[in-house]
Symmetry: C2
Subunit: 455 residues, 2 copies
């Protein structure tokens, strides 16, 4: 995009807010790709040329029509909290910052409709007084946008109750703008939302979302210490399977991981494995009984929502935040994303720990997966080389543990969801010139180069 | 209890309300044991001698002390909605009607404390305006008492989310009066409640309960028709495992069972299998998509709470009410209670259907069971003889389908929970003379006769 006069583009788009300042554009071009040393090498030089910040759907449409006319790549972003380059503008061009589309439109009978740039925390600030909360959210609840989460995320805090974005029923509707001479406004409902969920904005720009919420419970945050990760894992599973104990979050760490949680160090017995939970108020007693029965000691308890300056909400030690705490202490650390699933999933976890030990400090996020309890492994990795990283990934996959590789920005190779023909067909219809977040959807890149049509 | 002067007992107990009228006493001595032709033979002549209706805990204590002093058997009852003689006074004596202990004491942070005789419907009339509902309830919600349910039931509508009474965390506290010269008032909490749950009041009289509630959702009642019970069962399982679809009830019937639901006949296509569900409002769309995908047709929908004179709440066609509809049409029908569980539970269901066909018209209640989806089989039985009934039960148990025999009033042989040493020890401490609901706890009867001590 070298021969484009970016100040002129900004002037053409006026009064739509644009950012041309190089330092600011660079800052607004980045996400958390640097979690991965592999992606860091590939993406550290990547930047957009212009950030466009529409404040209305009309401004989104105008921007897309303009960019389509001028063959300018457009990469959408929310808050840029993704961890594997979802929002990185590989070919430069326009970064479409949707964070000003932040209106809470309505909430009725447990369904809310909001604009894509609304922050999760602001969504819940509106819904909680009406007795509703998000079914699940990433650990970036205080910074991320809802559109960014649905376009680039998969699950999070609450998935132990409701599964993730891949599950039918967790996203009810999307409003999507196409990348054409005259951008169309699509209202997707039912299964039709799926091609645009976790598609990184490659096949349309999400401007509004219709989401089913969960009834809000009063929650307790708690830490339970165990002698070792084996006991912690057994407890995580037992708690997940305890139908009479209401929970929103079950995360297990061995000490190699937990040692990086600086604010929690005064509360965690040195060398022990930790299970971090969010439990309904009314489940505290049976939770404590189960913990004691399985050898655990409750070492920290706090009502959810009462975070202090010293200790942030406990969910900010879970999911992708876990890795962030480790990275703060040791820049050489990275992580994995895999799924321990099936009747023998606890065995798979035990074998992984036995095989890699402290090379991959354990971090487990218990989840519902198609109606039963499973665990995502987001274990840390003491990175030595890309080759060794892929040896570990190879071992996991050979041992029945699928890996959603967080060291690639290619949609098909990462994430928790594969690109199917429907998703590609959706891009063909909505972005025939391939200008949306280019370079991310392999199926598109390959068929474009070879002229093969999958439709 | 022939030599007791019952009018004198009533006079001694005054001003505690007593019923001496023979017809009324007989009526208040009965439950729904006649669901079973086997129990009907054994229990049809059973009646108490006096019904005592205390209006306060003090009156309960006074009644128990008096009966202890005079060696009078005491059999507690709520509304008498049990199906296998739980409340039948085998040795006559006093029937302790607890329905006047009906106070709603408090509700805080999702926990409620109520007196044992409070009806389920009245409990929810108080809790729903505060946004809370029972985690699960039997199909007798409109008539049963909460104490009767906890003392004689196991699970019900909502168990597909929260499991049953056997699951830790679903009963938080019980207040229990012992049967001694000076009855003690016990406050049980945590796992200590377990010996008194589903014990038919054999080891203490429950006067108050502390129960964790569930956040109340707006629900939809719905009927889905399928070509056959195989498709209906597959749908029930898929819906149970669909983490993104919120449900409170999933019940499957083949036509042989559904044909008895007279008020629903105008809505059910003749000859089809039916799945009856309660679904959160916000899950209607994904529910309909799943139903269509699996070959189902939604034939009835109604907002929960909008029942008409024509069609009662749909839960009144499920759980033990199902059998009642069949009995209204055909007095020779009875039923079973079994558990289809394990990774091959759908196969077990299919084999049961293939083996018994129309002799046991199918009725499945999908439930969570230790963290996964399973189904209780409450199939109807076209009864021919007790011998044949136990042949069927024998086949089920031999094929990995445990049966909670509803054709016995013996605690250990029926229900969903076995009597353990703790439960027996609890009776030894609380009812040393064996006066509470005598004849129901086999372990007691046997050790009393032989003098063997298990403690």
């Amino acid at each position: 995009m070298k021969d484009i006069d970016w100040p002129k583009v900004a002037a053409d788009l006026a009064p739509i807010e644009c950012i041309v300042d190089r330092a600011l554009v660079r800052q607004k071009s980045r996400d958390f790709f640097w979690y991965s040393p592999v992606l860091n090498e590939k993406l550290k030089g990547v930047r957009g040329d212009l950030v466009v910040c529409p404040a209305s759907e009309e401004e989104v449409v105008r921007t897309l029509a303009y960019c389509h006319a001028h063959r300018i790549a457009v990469t959408p972003r929310g808050a840029g909290t993704g961890n594997y380059g979802q929002a990185m503008p590989l070919q430069g061009g326009v970064v479409l910052d949707l964070s000003r589309l932040d209106r809470f439109l309505w909430l009725k009978d447990g369904v809310t409709r909001v604009q894509a740039g609304l922050k999760l925390i602001d969504l819940e600030a509106k819904s909680l007084p009406q007795g509703w909360e998000l079914r699940f959210h990433p650990s970036t609840r205080r910074t991320a946008t809802i559109g960014g989460f649905v376009a680039g995320g998969s699950g999070g805090v609450g998935s132990v109750q409701f599964g993730g974005l891949r599950n039918r029923g967790n996203v009810l509707g999307l409003r999507v703008i196409t990348m054409e001479a005259r951008p169309r406004v699509l209202e997707l409902a039912g299964d039709d939302v799926m091609p645009a969920v976790h598609a990184y904005g490659t096949n349309g720009i999400i401007t509004e979302l219709e989401l089913p919420l969960a009834r809000a419970w009063p929650w307790q945050e708690t830490l339970v210490a165990f002698a070792d990760i084996g006991h912690a894992t057994a407890f995580g599973n037992a708690l997940g399977e305890a139908d009479g104990i209401i929970k929103k979050l079950i995360t297990a760490f061995d000490w190699s991981t937990a040692q990086y949680f600086k604010p929690l160090l005064p509360h965690m017995p040195q060398g022990q494995a930790i299970v971090l939970c969010m439990i309904a108020d009314s489940s505290r007693e049976p939770f404590a009984t189960l913990a004691a029965e399985m050898g655990g000691a409750i070492v920290f308890e706090r009502a959810y929502g009462r975070e202090s300056d010293d200790i942030p909400p406990l969910y900010e030690f879970t999911w992708n935040h876990t890795t962030l705490w480790a990275l703060k202490a040791d820049r050489s650390i990275t992580y994995l994303q895999c799924l321990f699933n099936g009747p023998d999933y606890l065995d798979k976890i035990a074998r992984t720990i036995a095989t890699f030990g402290d090379e991959t400090p354990m971090h487990l996020e218990f989840t519902r997966f198609d109606g039963h309890v499973a665990a995502f492994g987001l274990q840390l990795v003491r990175f030595t080389s890309e080759q060794r990283l892929y040896e570990i990934i190879g071992w996991l996959e050979a041992n029945g543990v699928p890996v959603a590789d967080p060291h690639t920005f290619v949609l098909e190779d990462g994430g928790m969801k594969t690109v199917d023909a429907a998703q590609l067909a959706f891009k063909r219809r909505n972005d025939p010139q391939g200008l949306l977040n280019p370079g991310k959807m392999k199926a598109w890149t390959e068929t474009s180069l070879t002229g093969v049509s999958l439709t």
